[in-house]
Protein backbone atom coordinates (compact mmCIF):
# COMPACT_ATOMS: atom_id res chain seq x y z
CA UNK A 1 0.00 0.00 0.00
CA UNK A 2 1.50 3.30 -1.11
CA UNK A 3 0.91 6.94 -0.34
CA UNK A 4 -2.65 7.99 -1.18
CA UNK A 5 -2.56 10.88 -3.59
CA UNK A 6 -5.67 13.11 -3.68
CA UNK A 7 -5.93 15.21 -6.78
CA UNK A 8 -8.90 17.37 -7.66
CA UNK A 9 -10.23 17.29 -11.21
CA UNK A 10 -10.64 20.63 -13.03
CA UNK A 11 -13.89 22.45 -12.29
CA UNK A 12 -15.27 25.99 -12.62
CA UNK A 13 -14.76 28.47 -9.82
CA UNK A 14 -17.89 29.51 -8.00
CA UNK A 15 -17.97 32.78 -9.93
CA UNK A 16 -17.82 30.93 -13.23
CA UNK A 17 -20.89 28.78 -12.58
CA UNK A 18 -23.81 29.68 -14.87
CA UNK A 19 -27.35 28.93 -13.87
CA UNK A 20 -28.33 27.78 -17.37
CA UNK A 21 -25.60 25.14 -17.29
CA UNK A 22 -26.66 23.98 -13.82
CA UNK A 23 -30.31 23.70 -14.80
CA UNK A 24 -29.52 21.95 -18.04
CA UNK A 25 -27.26 19.54 -16.19
CA UNK A 26 -29.93 18.77 -13.61
CA UNK A 27 -32.62 18.39 -16.26
CA UNK A 28 -31.43 15.02 -17.49
CA UNK A 29 -32.88 11.95 -15.75
CA UNK A 30 -29.63 10.02 -15.35
CA UNK A 31 -27.81 13.09 -14.04
CA UNK A 32 -30.61 13.92 -11.63
CA UNK A 33 -30.33 10.36 -10.35
CA UNK A 34 -26.61 10.92 -9.79
CA UNK A 35 -27.30 14.16 -7.92
CA UNK A 36 -29.84 12.44 -5.71
CA UNK A 37 -27.33 9.70 -4.91
CA UNK A 38 -24.68 12.29 -4.06
CA UNK A 39 -27.12 14.16 -1.85
CA UNK A 40 -27.58 10.99 0.19
CA UNK A 41 -23.84 10.52 0.70
CA UNK A 42 -22.18 13.80 1.70
CA UNK A 43 -18.84 12.07 2.12
CA UNK A 44 -18.81 11.44 -1.62
CA UNK A 45 -19.24 8.37 -3.73
CA UNK A 46 -17.28 6.60 -6.44
CA UNK A 47 -18.63 6.74 -9.97
CA UNK A 48 -19.06 3.00 -10.28
CA UNK A 49 -20.97 2.67 -7.04
CA UNK A 50 -23.93 4.73 -8.16
CA UNK A 51 -26.68 2.46 -9.38
CA UNK A 52 -27.36 3.43 -12.99
CA UNK A 53 -28.67 1.66 -16.09
CA UNK A 54 -25.92 2.97 -18.37
CA UNK A 55 -22.46 1.85 -19.43
CA UNK A 56 -19.29 3.17 -17.76
CA UNK A 57 -18.58 5.53 -20.63
CA UNK A 58 -22.02 7.12 -20.41
CA UNK A 59 -21.53 7.42 -16.66
CA UNK A 60 -18.27 9.24 -17.22
CA UNK A 61 -19.94 11.55 -19.72
CA UNK A 62 -22.65 12.58 -17.27
CA UNK A 63 -20.22 13.04 -14.42
CA UNK A 64 -18.11 15.28 -16.59
CA UNK A 65 -21.15 17.32 -17.58
CA UNK A 66 -22.12 17.77 -13.94
CA UNK A 67 -18.56 18.67 -12.96
CA UNK A 68 -18.17 21.20 -15.77
CA UNK A 69 -21.50 22.77 -14.85
CA UNK A 70 -20.24 23.19 -11.30
CA UNK A 71 -22.70 20.79 -9.70
CA UNK A 72 -20.18 18.36 -8.29
CA UNK A 73 -16.52 18.09 -7.46
CA UNK A 74 -14.32 15.06 -8.05
CA UNK A 75 -11.03 14.00 -6.56
CA UNK A 76 -8.98 10.90 -7.09
CA UNK A 77 -8.33 8.34 -4.40
CA UNK A 78 -6.06 5.76 -5.90
CA UNK A 79 -7.77 4.42 -8.98
CA UNK A 80 -11.16 5.61 -7.79
CA UNK A 81 -12.72 9.00 -8.39
CA UNK A 82 -14.86 10.26 -5.59
CA UNK A 83 -17.53 12.80 -6.43
CA UNK A 84 -19.58 14.95 -4.09
CA UNK A 85 -22.11 17.74 -4.46
CA UNK A 86 -20.85 21.33 -4.39
CA UNK A 87 -23.60 22.14 -1.95
CA UNK A 88 -21.94 25.17 -0.41
CA UNK A 89 -21.32 26.83 -3.74
CA UNK A 90 -24.77 26.05 -5.12
CA UNK A 91 -26.52 27.19 -1.95
CA UNK A 92 -24.55 30.42 -2.00
CA UNK A 93 -25.30 31.09 -5.66
CA UNK A 94 -28.90 29.87 -5.82
CA UNK A 95 -30.26 29.59 -2.30
CA UNK A 96 -33.09 27.09 -2.24
CA UNK A 97 -32.55 25.61 -5.67
CA UNK A 98 -30.92 22.39 -4.59
CA UNK A 99 -33.32 21.91 -1.71
CA UNK A 100 -36.24 22.46 -4.04
CA UNK A 101 -34.98 20.01 -6.60
CA UNK A 102 -34.22 17.33 -4.04
CA UNK A 103 -37.58 17.74 -2.34
CA UNK A 104 -39.30 16.64 -5.54
CA UNK A 105 -41.08 13.31 -5.49
CA UNK A 106 -39.03 10.82 -7.53
Amino acid sequence: MGLMIRKQLPQPDRAEIRVEAVLQALGEPVRLQIVRALADTPEGIACGEIELQVTPSTRAHHLRTLREAGVLTTHTEGTRRISSLRREDLDALYPGLLTGVLSAAQ
Copy 2:
Protein backbone atom coordinates in the same frame (compact mmCIF):
# COMPACT_ATOMS: atom_id res chain seq x y z
CA MET B 1 -65.78 45.92 -28.50
CA GLY B 2 -67.43 42.61 -27.69
CA LEU B 3 -67.50 40.30 -24.69
CA MET B 4 -64.02 39.36 -23.57
CA ILE B 5 -63.67 35.58 -23.52
CA ARG B 6 -60.97 34.16 -21.27
CA LYS B 7 -59.99 30.62 -22.06
CA GLN B 8 -57.16 28.73 -20.42
CA LEU B 9 -54.81 26.72 -22.61
CA PRO B 10 -54.23 23.05 -21.69
CA GLN B 11 -51.60 22.49 -19.03
CA PRO B 12 -50.59 19.71 -16.63
CA ASP B 13 -52.19 19.48 -13.21
CA ARG B 14 -49.89 20.18 -10.31
CA ALA B 15 -49.61 16.46 -9.60
CA GLU B 16 -48.52 15.79 -13.16
CA ILE B 17 -45.58 18.20 -13.12
CA ARG B 18 -42.23 16.39 -13.32
CA VAL B 19 -39.10 18.00 -11.98
CA GLU B 20 -36.97 16.80 -14.92
CA ALA B 21 -39.29 18.58 -17.34
CA VAL B 22 -39.21 21.76 -15.26
CA LEU B 23 -35.43 21.79 -15.02
CA GLN B 24 -34.98 21.01 -18.68
CA ALA B 25 -37.42 23.76 -19.57
CA LEU B 26 -35.59 26.27 -17.38
CA GLY B 27 -32.19 25.21 -18.70
CA GLU B 28 -32.59 26.88 -22.08
CA PRO B 29 -31.40 30.52 -22.27
CA VAL B 30 -34.39 31.90 -24.20
CA ARG B 31 -36.84 30.16 -21.91
CA LEU B 32 -35.03 31.34 -18.81
CA GLN B 33 -35.29 34.85 -20.20
CA ILE B 34 -39.04 34.35 -20.58
CA VAL B 35 -39.32 33.11 -17.01
CA ARG B 36 -37.40 36.11 -15.72
CA ALA B 37 -39.72 38.45 -17.62
CA LEU B 38 -42.76 36.67 -16.20
CA ALA B 39 -41.35 36.89 -12.70
CA ASP B 40 -41.17 40.67 -13.11
CA THR B 41 -44.82 40.94 -14.16
CA PRO B 42 -47.05 38.84 -11.90
CA GLU B 43 -50.16 40.09 -13.72
CA GLY B 44 -48.97 38.21 -16.79
CA ILE B 45 -47.56 39.29 -20.10
CA ALA B 46 -48.39 38.74 -23.76
CA CYS B 47 -46.05 36.56 -25.77
CA GLY B 48 -45.12 39.29 -28.19
CA GLU B 49 -44.26 41.79 -25.51
CA ILE B 50 -41.36 39.83 -24.11
CA GLU B 51 -38.13 41.11 -25.55
CA LEU B 52 -36.50 38.18 -27.32
CA GLN B 53 -34.13 37.76 -30.24
CA VAL B 54 -36.17 35.03 -31.91
CA THR B 55 -39.00 34.83 -34.42
CA PRO B 56 -42.68 34.50 -33.39
CA SER B 57 -42.73 30.81 -34.20
CA THR B 58 -39.72 30.11 -32.00
CA ARG B 59 -41.34 32.16 -29.27
CA ALA B 60 -44.47 30.04 -29.52
CA HIS B 61 -42.38 26.88 -29.37
CA HIS B 62 -40.67 27.92 -26.13
CA LEU B 63 -43.90 29.09 -24.53
CA ARG B 64 -45.49 25.77 -25.33
CA THR B 65 -42.53 23.91 -23.83
CA LEU B 66 -42.77 25.96 -20.63
CA ARG B 67 -46.54 25.49 -20.46
CA GLU B 68 -46.34 21.73 -21.01
CA ALA B 69 -43.64 21.47 -18.35
CA GLY B 70 -45.97 23.24 -15.91
CA VAL B 71 -43.86 26.36 -15.53
CA LEU B 72 -46.40 28.84 -16.82
CA THR B 73 -50.11 29.15 -17.50
CA THR B 74 -51.65 30.88 -20.50
CA HIS B 75 -55.12 32.25 -21.10
CA THR B 76 -56.56 34.08 -24.06
CA GLU B 77 -57.69 37.69 -23.95
CA GLY B 78 -59.09 38.49 -27.33
CA THR B 79 -56.39 37.77 -29.85
CA ARG B 80 -53.69 37.98 -27.21
CA ARG B 81 -52.42 35.17 -25.02
CA ILE B 82 -51.38 36.19 -21.58
CA SER B 83 -48.87 33.99 -19.76
CA SER B 84 -47.87 34.04 -16.13
CA LEU B 85 -45.67 31.94 -13.86
CA ARG B 86 -47.28 29.07 -11.95
CA ARG B 87 -45.51 30.29 -8.86
CA GLU B 88 -47.90 28.74 -6.34
CA ASP B 89 -47.66 25.30 -7.89
CA LEU B 90 -43.90 25.42 -8.30
CA ASP B 91 -43.33 26.72 -4.78
CA ALA B 92 -45.54 23.98 -3.41
CA LEU B 93 -43.79 21.24 -5.37
CA TYR B 94 -40.20 22.50 -5.14
CA PRO B 95 -39.96 25.08 -2.38
CA GLY B 96 -37.03 27.37 -3.04
CA LEU B 97 -36.33 26.28 -6.59
CA LEU B 98 -37.82 29.28 -8.35
CA THR B 99 -36.38 31.72 -5.84
CA GLY B 100 -32.97 30.18 -6.27
CA VAL B 101 -33.10 30.30 -10.03
CA LEU B 102 -34.30 33.89 -10.12
CA SER B 103 -31.70 35.02 -7.60
CA ALA B 104 -28.97 34.06 -10.05
CA ALA B 105 -26.89 36.83 -11.56
CA GLN B 106 -27.89 37.22 -15.18
